[in-house]
């Protein structure tokens, strides 16, 4: 660790991983309720499980991004963080607000929660992924602003690099587009249109900038490749992200009440969306091939390459499957969307956080050369278990989606939703099985933190 203030990243990383365990656990509970509808009902209805599952994901990614930023910004700017104290206060405020919100979901019926949290003053609740009560949403704004302030002030007083510029642009976009979460028109269609400004432009635009910046930072560190070279790649990747991702929002506007021209604009732009991810693969593998140093922390590079590959498959390939308007007519609102959602969030975002933690955590724990060989072996096993689990889960959900389409939407002998879902029960069991595998992989990953150095040979 070159700068003492980088240490503030540590609690962010640890908390992100704890939240990830919770996220997967609630995913498993949902997976079981999908098969046995009486499971946990009426104690925890499905919508509550899902809210906890998706909200934990969003919050853990934000914690991960923040930890990654606080770690990399001092090194990039070659100066201490502007205010490590603010970063720690932000951590506790965000952690407390996050835990309180989850407990609220679990122990207060949602309708009551809306009343308790002044939703009638400014109704923002009850929309997918943005279910947070008003105080939590305001809290997120405050936390993000303090984070943005801290990073900006650090960048201003230190060295400016392409990585910090891209990162800051991404963070600014994240802050700006969250504001649409407060705009809820009475017209459902208008509401949905602007809802995507937060949801899509986070995931398929601004977050990709953050992802690109973190990936570039780790690759510089573990391959020793010249910064000029890395910068060029980073610019290319985010250029493709911006060109395709912004207008790619249109792929959500096909069949929700927006005008017809989105059918064309959305299809064409989002057909280009796999490109930045393809470039990420080329980037990671080219840098690994041309590396100037061989870092002892081999797992960091493994995760970096894995992020590029899984991000491409999950976001790029699985997104492309259903992004053309004539195909989307049949896939819209089926399990195929869930399949794509799972692998893209995991491949692009959860894995970039693993990448950063895998690189930074050993250093934060006083091991500049990475964890010992034995620990890395365990970590490599966890890498494969989680990846296989996620791919299996995604394939199962894709199969479920295809059956659903054939049952409900193609041909003349159609059956209803509930009947179709019953016919898919076997596939849901396979999905749940792979979900358990993902969780086992995460536990293996946790275990790798506690593998002790082997005693030195005399």
């Amino acid at each position: 660790m070159k700068y003492t203030s980088q240490a503030v990243a540590k609690p962010y990383f640890i908390f992100a991983l704890i939240l990830l365990a919770g996220e997967i656990l609630f995913g498993l509970l949902m997976g079981i309720q999908y098969i046995w509808g009486d499971f946990l009902f009426p104690l925890i209805p499905f919508n509550v499980l899902r809210m906890v599952h998706t909200n934990l994901l969003i919050v853990l990614l934000l914690f991960g991004f923040m930890g990654a930023t606080y770690y990399l910004v001092p090194e990039e700017t070659e100066t201490e963080l502007w205010s490590p104290k603010l970063a720690i206060i932000t951590f506790w405020v965000f952690a407390a607000a996050g835990v309180a919100t989850i407990l609220g979901y679990l122990f207060v019926p949602y309708a009551e929660l809306t009343e308790l949290t002044f939703n009638n003053l400014l109704p923002t609740m009850g929309r997918e992924f943005l279910e947070q009560p008003l105080p939590t949403k305001v809290g997120i704004v405050i936390v993000v602003l303090s984070y943005l302030l801290n990073v900006t002030m650090t960048v201003i007083k230190g060295r400016k690099t392409v990585i910090t510029t891209v990162l800051l642009t991404g963070l600014l976009g994240l802050a700006v587009f969250f504001l649409f979460a407060f705009y809820v028109p009475d017209n459902l269609i208008m509401d949905k249109f602007f809802w995507w400004f937060t949801v899509h432009l986070w995931v398929e635009a601004t977050w990709e900038l953050i992802l690109g910046a973190i990936l570039a930072f780790v690759l510089i560190k573990v391959t020793g490749v010249d910064r000029e070279h890395i910068d060029k790649w980073l610019y290319l990747i985010i250029a493709m992200t911006m060109v395709s991702g912004i207008l790619g929002t249109g792929h959500h506007f096909f069949y929700m009440g927006a005008p017809e021209y989105w059918l064309w604009i959305g299809s064409i732009s989002s057909a280009v969306e796999p490109l930045p991810f393809l470039l990420m693969i080329l980037f990671a593998f080219t840098m690994a091939r041309d590396r100037k140093i061989k870092h002892d922390n081999e797992m960091a590079l493994t995760w970096a390459k894995g992020t590029a590959v899984m991000g491409f498959i999950g976001a790029g390939v699985w997104g492309f499957f259903h992004t053309l308007a004539p195909v989307n007519m049949f896939t819209h609102g089926t399990q195929l969307t869930a399949a794509h959602g799972h692998l893209s969030f995991y491949g692009a975002y959860v894995m970039i956080i693993f990448t950063m933690i895998s690189y930074a955590m050993p250093i934060l724990r006083g091991r500049p050369h990475g964890n010992c060989k034995k620990a890395q072996k365990v970590e490599l096993a966890s890498f494969w278990i989680m990846n296989i689990g996620m791919v299996g889960l995604t394939l199962a959900l894709s199969a479920a989606g295809i059956v659903q389409i054939l049952d409900q939407r193609v041909g003349t002998e159609l059956i209803g939703f509930m009947e179709s879902q019953e016919s898919i029960a076997g596939i849901y069991m396979i999905r749940a099985g792979f979900g358990v595998l993902v969780f086992a992989g995460l536990l293996t990953y946790f275990y790798s933190f506690f593998v002790k150095e082997e005693p030195q040979q005399a």
């Binding site: 509808g37 899902r50 309708a111 912004i246 049949f330 869930a338 159609l414």
Partner: protein
């Protein structure tokens, strides 16, 4: 391929291309906002429809159902439930909704359960009005079939 592209070229594509895409997006946003009231028949958006939307949000219906194809995939699509369960007749649909909402949760073992939301008959009517209004939105001929 990448050898021929310099860092400053890549940078220009990012700023130029990004700004260009953003400008088009903003222009189309203005046009879409202009068109949505007509496509969604905003003139028919009565107080009851708006009250129904608020109930829809207050009870997190989207946490299990999809509407206009968006939401969770645990329970049926509701954009065309008016056609599916009400045969496109308002009185039939409203009567159906009163019965259906009162009967929850169904006792069928291991069937996915919908909670009892304790809505008043007037509130159920608001919800029905909201779903009827939604069913008439011009969503480019989606959903493809009555089964949603």
């Amino acid at each position: 391929m990448t050898e021929r592209i310099t860092k400053s070229m890549a940078k220009n594509i990012y700023y130029g291309g990004g700004t260009f895409a953003l400008m088009i997006f903003i222009a189309l946003t203005f046009d879409t906002v202009h068109q949505i009231p007509k496509r969604s028949n905003q003139q028919n958006m009565t107080e009851s429809v708006v009250a129904g939307k608020k109930l829809w949000e207050k009870n997190d219906c989207v946490g299990c159902h999809t509407i206009v194809g968006e939401g969770a995939y645990y329970a049926p699509e509701l954009m065309n439930v008016f056609q599916r369960r009400g045969a496109s007749d308002e009185a039939t649909f409203k009567a159906y909704m009163q019965g259906w909402m009162a009967a929850q949760p169904l006792s069928a073992p291991n069937r996915r359960k919908m909670p009892q939301f304790h809505l008043t008959p007037a509130e159920v009517d608001h919800l029905s009005d909201f779903l009827i209004w939604t069913s008439k939105v011009n969503a480019n001929d989606w959903p493809p079939t009555i089964e949603g």
